[in-house]
């Protein structure tokens, strides 16, 4: 499936996205190591440069903008490791991506019970 057959608000992580996002996702994959997380926190720009992130990817990381990271080929499995460094869990990033407060996002999840 190509992303021209879109499901609203959803990026299918296909070959095109994977190719575009390789450097960003590879950097995030490195965050399985505590040493690498510490190195990133010491100098974020240098760490992004070391992994060859594009300007768009580096800017998205700097802004902690998850939608921009996804637009730049990031996949949420790997991005979650980056979000964790910033102390953000999946509800925090859900709220950020949907433009809601975390409380409103949690309330929306509960609504799905009905």
């Amino acid at each position: 499936m190509t992303n021209s057959q879109q499901i609203p608000g959803t990026t299918i992580f296909n070959g095109t996205e994977a190719e575009k996002g390789l450097a960003l996702n590879k950097m995030c994959f490195s965050f399985n190591s505590a040493d690498n997380r510490a190195e990133f926190l010491r100098d974020q720009d240098a760490y992004c440069a070391k992994f060859g992130l594009t300007a768009e990817q580096s800017a998205a990381v700097k802004a902690r903008d998850v939608l921009a990271m996804i637009a730049a080929g990031g996949n949420v499995y790997y991005l979650a490791k980056l979000a964790g460094i910033f102390g953000l869990n999946v509800q925090d990033i859900g709220a950020q991506q949907t433009g809601m407060s975390v409380e409103a996002f949690k309330a929306k999840l509960k609504e799905a019970r009905r």
């Binding site: 057959q5 992580f13 590879k26 399985n32 997380r37 949420v76 799905a112 019970r113």
Partner: protein, 291 residues
Amino acid sequence: MATIIGGIGTTHVPAIGSAIAKGLQQEAYWKPFFDGLKPAHAWLAANRPDAVVVIYNDHGLNFFLDKLPTFAVGAAAEYRHADEGWGLPVSRPFPGDPAFSWHLIESLVADEFDVTSCQEMLVDHAFTIPLALLWPGTDARPVITVPIEINTVQHPLPSPARCLKLGQAIGRAIASYARDMKVLVVGSGGLSHQLDGTRAGFINKEFDIMCLQQLVHQPEALTHYTIPQLVELAGSQGVELLNWIVMRGALTGEVSKIHSNYHIPISNTASALLVLNNRAVAPETEYRKVG
């Protein structure tokens, strides 16, 4: 011969691991979820599997996009969990059984499922959390394990139809193992949820309930969906339903439902539990049916 005693589908939301570590099982948020496990514990205590085959998806602990198998089978004497990057406590290692693993791999490849074999394999929360839920608080889990990993990250993903056939091949592989042992198959993940995009927080109760019903007696009904349809109906990460379909495929005998639980939400996810008993059908009986 090895016999498949049943299958269990369970959610693997990472927050569950943190809740267990903090002992929050009886807090209001967690109680409906953890209390839902009690019938599963009773069934396990009565049926006591010797081995567990866990069908799960790696979230970027063992596998990365540089080399990503569609189907991978562990063949190690021990499986270690490790730091996943966002603070989940690291679980103790799980015992494997290389002889059993290699039998499964040989049988699957002979059955035209060309799996990747892994003599070294880190297992992530999608493997550790189901086992922590099913055997809470035990230092030495009473079972040997085989991880079978399904790609749910990099599209194209294997179709539901392909996953049901894989499960059936796993079922044949287990049933042809010469050693007398009781085997449980676990399907990890789901149900509906989406973490990414402006559609984050998507949950589809109606679809989940339908899946929980069809998985018992009519798993074929779920094989008509394409992957894009599953993404639309279950959410980007709700495609972990594939792991449940593989699990159900492995139950090749007479299947009956022991228990199910469904609770919204755990973290961003519609959590679910399904316990299925599998009564092996003796080959003679099959011949009689044909005759």
